[in-house]
């Protein structure tokens, strides 16, 4: 049996799905291979008893309402034609810090620029001016990113200097540095930093342009989730891939990338060899260059590149199906961030290992999706991050009790901080550790956040180095390992970007 395709996409995660759909839409023959039996990677769902849980999504940014769509809604619905039933998330977040003293916080922040500034002013009188400065910088950044995006990697330095001077001034700095420069009051900074855990990188290491763009998208477009868990996103895209002529093979692992004369010649799968000259990998470069190619076919520069990069945060999630409603339990909010302090450097360092009170980003799904569980019940998920492979050091013997211990601490911390009772109402519980995520995604160390975007490896230089990052011709990366970094919205956009670059590769090869 001889199979041949214009492109083979390895991995049906968000980036793989959007890349496959984009390539198919451009008229290319595409084979999408996925080792698991369903699409989505992290964007999936699972059923326990009478509950269907969301494995990873808290909220998507850059979706926006139908009459004011963000980039992600535009890509999924207008460009790729996927039909998704979106639900808005009611408020931005409730932020709680647990350390006693002046740093102690318990605030609820809304979406909407004006509402956010007003609320901030009510918590931190005198913060308005700095918030306005922050938002103005956000606008500059959005405008500059739009220009850079439209320039196709050929941004004119003169235009940047002339029209995007503020972006150039702040775009290279860390969040901490810029917030200090615009003289934002300490307390307002702490409240604003709540979303830092969506990157896993402390404010000292986190690039300001990246952070500002994320916050701004949340504030202006709100946050959205699909009604039927993120599996709805994945099945919608999967059916588009097929409708556009793409072929999908589940339960099929890509084992090797076949090379001839330093160029991609095909992919060896458990179902046989597939001819292709173009691979889009929605999986880690570690897997592709470390495990799917012979060392001789991997240039030293490529190996150095991989080893220099830092594996991003690994996730740990507790899923609860509760036999009481959110109202009965007193859960008023959708999204809770609970940190010890808003000293994000300390907080990120605490995530290097096991600690008594892990930070948590907790969701009560019913607050955005009231009918997501049967009448009289609700669904919660508690997420924390690890910045090192500490779960890799847990023995098989200790595994179950360790994950239960961490889960129980997180639930008890939540009960104490929000002053609610949860434990007696657990009807279903599941706990996912980095080992679980490694099982389903094969990401190294079970990483949820691909390669960290901290410090030098942030989005802007990745985008500016698209050409030189491409060392082995014919292999490009989509998903969280792509240039626009990780997170749901970014991975879909990465897939589209990678498809565009691959189409350009095809054109060049034909020349």
């Amino acid at each position: 049996m001889e199979h041949a395709y214009d492109a083979v996409v390895i991995g049906a995660g968000n980036g793989g799905l959007s890349a496959a759909a984009s390539l198919a839409k451009a008229g290319k023959s595409v084979l999408l291979v996925e080792q698991h039996n369903l699409p989505g990677g992290f964007a999936s769902s699972f059923v326990r008893g009478r509950f269907e849980f969301e494995p990873s999504l808290h909220e998507l940014c850059d979706v926006g309402p139908a009459n004011d769509p963000g980039e992600v809604r535009r890509l999924l619905e207008q460009t790729l034609g996927a039909a998704i039933d979106w639900l808005p998330v009611p408020e931005a977040y409730r932020l709680i810090t647990t350390a006693e003293g002046a740093d102690n916080l318990d605030v609820v922040m809304p979406f909407g620029v004006t509402a956010f500034v007003e609320k901030m002013e009510s918590y931190v009188p005198g913060s308005r001016k700095s918030m306005e400065r922050f938002l103005s910088l956000c606008e500059s950044i959005m405008a500059a990113l739009a220009y850079i995006g439209a320039s196709g990697g050929k941004a004119d330095p003169k235009v940047l200097m002339k029209e995007h001077a503020n972006f150039l001034k702040c775009g290279g700095y860390s969040v901490s540095r810029v917030l200090k420069a615009i003289r934002m009051p300490k307390k307002a900074q702490r409240i604003l930093l709540a979303y830092w855990c969506y990157t896993g990188v402390s404010a000292d290491e986190l690039n300001f342009a990246l952070f500002a763009a994320m916050v701004y998208k949340y504030l202006t477009k709100g946050a959205w989730i699909p009604r039927m868990r993120s599996h709805e996103l994945s099945t919608a895209l999967e059916s588009r891939v097929r409708a556009l002529g793409g072929e999908i093979w589940y339960n099929t692992r890509a084992e090797r990338i076949l090379m001839e004369n330093g160029r991609v010649a095909g992919v060896r799968t458990a179902r046989g060899d597939v001819k292709t000259a173009h691979v889009v990998a929605c999986c880690s470069p570690n897997a592709v260059f470390g495990d799917m190619l012979d060392a001789a076919d991997v240039p030293e520069a490529q190996r150095k590149m991989i080893n220099a990069r830092r594996i991003g945060a690994r996730g740990f999630v507790v899923y609860l199906g509760l036999n009481k409603t959110a109202d009965e339990l007193g859960l008023r909010d959708y999204s809770y961030f609970i940190y010890e302090t808003m000293d994000t450097v300390k907080e990120a360092a605490r995530a290097d290992g096991f600690n008594g009170h892990p930070m948590q980003a907790t969701v009560c799904l019913n607050r955005a999706n009231p009918d997501c569980s049967p009448k009289g019940t609700c669904i919660m998920s508690f997420t924390t991050l690890y910045n090192k492979d500490v779960w890799g050091g847990v023995s098989p013997e200790a595994y179950v009790s360790k994950k239960r211990e961490v889960a129980e601490r997180m639930i008890r911390d939540f009960e104490r901080q929000v002053d609610v009772s949860i434990l007696p109402y657990i009807e279903e519980i599941e706990i996912a550790t980095p080992a679980t995520m490694a099982r389903y995604t094969l990401n190294p160390e079970g990483a949820m956040y691909a390669y960290s975007c901290g410090g030098w490896d942030t989005m802007l230089p990745r985008l500016m180095m698209l050409k030189e990052d491409q060392i082995v011709p014919g292999i490009r990366f989509a998903g969280g390992y792509g240039p626009r970094i990780y997170g749901y919205s970014s991975t879909y956009l990465n897939g589209e970007l990678t498809a565009k670059l691959t189409l350009a590769d095809m054109k060049e090869a034909a020349r």
């Binding site: 420069a181 060392a295 434990l423």
Partner: protein, 398 residues
């Protein structure tokens, strides 16, 4: 938003130099990486592979007979995946030209898995295609293929009451035996009262093992109930609400059930009388019945023969299918090794795309994801054809 009157000035002491430095800084950092061959197989990946192997090749090291109709197979492998008492292994079988799977609960202590061993106990089912074949064919020295441990029928202290009343029927004792061992071996900490229903004394599995465990730990108590004979030292009759309430002793308890469909049908009615919250009742899998005849709402016949068009990796073939069997069985008989584990609709492992045609899905067994149901996916293990069908599957081999 443009009304924010913000000028460059407050940023005066930040300069563009940093922006210009971003690319050189990244170039420098990337070229400073170690030249070693990278890998995606790290600590957590190795742990995942230990906990959830794709498959395990197990050697039958010992066969223990329990009368004429049940055998325990002791299975060895150097590093078995650890399991939680109550979980099952799904075995891959080739019988004639059929390729199929069967889930069997591990009956040994989870502690034994750390010493390289599992045990499964298999009872001959009257019309059981696989159980008959296994009992007649598996022998010491054979190597068999199993999945990693699967299933969610285990005690979880964050969810369940500290006292579990296990309701076991026939061969449904096996997961409870493992739980009892786990308690005795100090791997689990809960009280287990077993109400174990058998037809006759001679049908009781593991009588002496259970008695020994109950002697070794006061956390495990066994009550044998015989339905088809009266005998001294045994209760007689059925597992009733009254017996369960009495076993509970006025304290909170969880009820775990494992047994044949007929037992579930009877006991579920008894449980209704106790008005327990749903969270305190947990069933081991309801296996999909071999035939849909008699299932509530089943609109089809049992004698019809249909055509099943199967698309696998771009190739299409047509195989015969009977109205009184699941789509999974039709695939297996055709030698198409679609993945499957629980065979009761729960695990979703056999997820397949229904391209055309109609199937009957018993509501009790329909655990599909909402988006899958909306997109036309089925779990063939609990889908019965109502006419000719076309499906797309991604088998392990074909």
């Amino acid at each position: 938003m443009n009304d924010f009157n913000f000028h460059v000035k407050p940023l005066g002491f930040l300069d563009m130099l940093y922006f210009k430095k971003m690319v050189p800084a990244r170039q420098k950092a990337l070229s400073a990486g170690a030249p070693d061959q990278p890998t995606a197989v790290c600590g957590a990946n190795r742990l995942a592979a230990r906990l959830h192997p794709a498959s395990q090749q197990l050697t039958i090291s010992e066969v223990v007979e329990h009368g004429a109709d049940a055998k325990t197979f002791v299975l060895t492998i150097e590093h078995p995946a650890p399991f939680r008492a109550g979980q099952y292994l799904s075995f891959r079988l080739q019988i004639g030209s059929s390729v199929l799977t069967r889930p069997y609960s591990v009956s040994s202590s989870p502690k034994l898995a750390f010493e390289g061993k599992y045990a499964v106990t298999i009872k001959r089912q009257m019309d059981g295609f696989a159980s008959q074949w296994i009992l007649d064919n598996w022998k010491a020295g054979d190597v068999v293929t199993a999945s990693g441990p699967e299933g969610t029928f285990y005690y979880e202290p964050l969810r369940d009451a500290k006292h579990v009343i296990g309701l076991a029927g026939g061969c449904g004792i096996t997961p409870f035996l493992s739980m009892a061992y786990a308690i005795r071996d100090g791997l689990e900490d809960f009280r287990l009262t077993l109400l174990y229903g058998s037809r006759k004394e001679c049908d009781i599995l593991y009588y002496s093992e259970l008695a020994e465990i109950a002697k070794a730990t006061d956390k495990v108590r066994i009550v044998h109930i015989l339905s088809d004979e009266r005998k001294e030292g045994y209760e007689s009759g059925f597992i009733t609400a009254e017996r369960i309430r009495e076993a509970g002793g006025g304290e909170p308890y969880s009820v775990f059930l494992c047994g044949p469909a007929a037992m579930y049908a009877f006991v579920d009615k008894e449980l209704e009388k106790l008005k327990l919250e749903k969270k305190y009742i947990r069933h081991e899998l309801y296996p999909a019945p071999a035939s849909p005849a008699g299932l509530a709402g089943y609109p089809g016949g049992t004698k019809e023969r249909y055509a099943l068009t199967v698309r696998c990796f771009g190739e299409t073939r047509t195989v015969p299918m009977r109205a009184d069997e699941t789509v999974l069985v039709a695939l297996e008989r055709a030698g198409i090794a679609v993945p499957s584990r629980c065979r009761g609709g729960e695990c979703g492992c056999c997820r397949a795309r229904l391209v055309s045609g109609e199937v009957f899905l018993p509501q009790l067994l329909d655990h599909r994801r909402m988006a899958d149901a909306a997109a036309g996916y089925i779990h063939p293990c609990c889908s019965y054809p109502l006419g000719d069908l076309a499906v797309e599957v991604w088998p392990e081999q074909s």
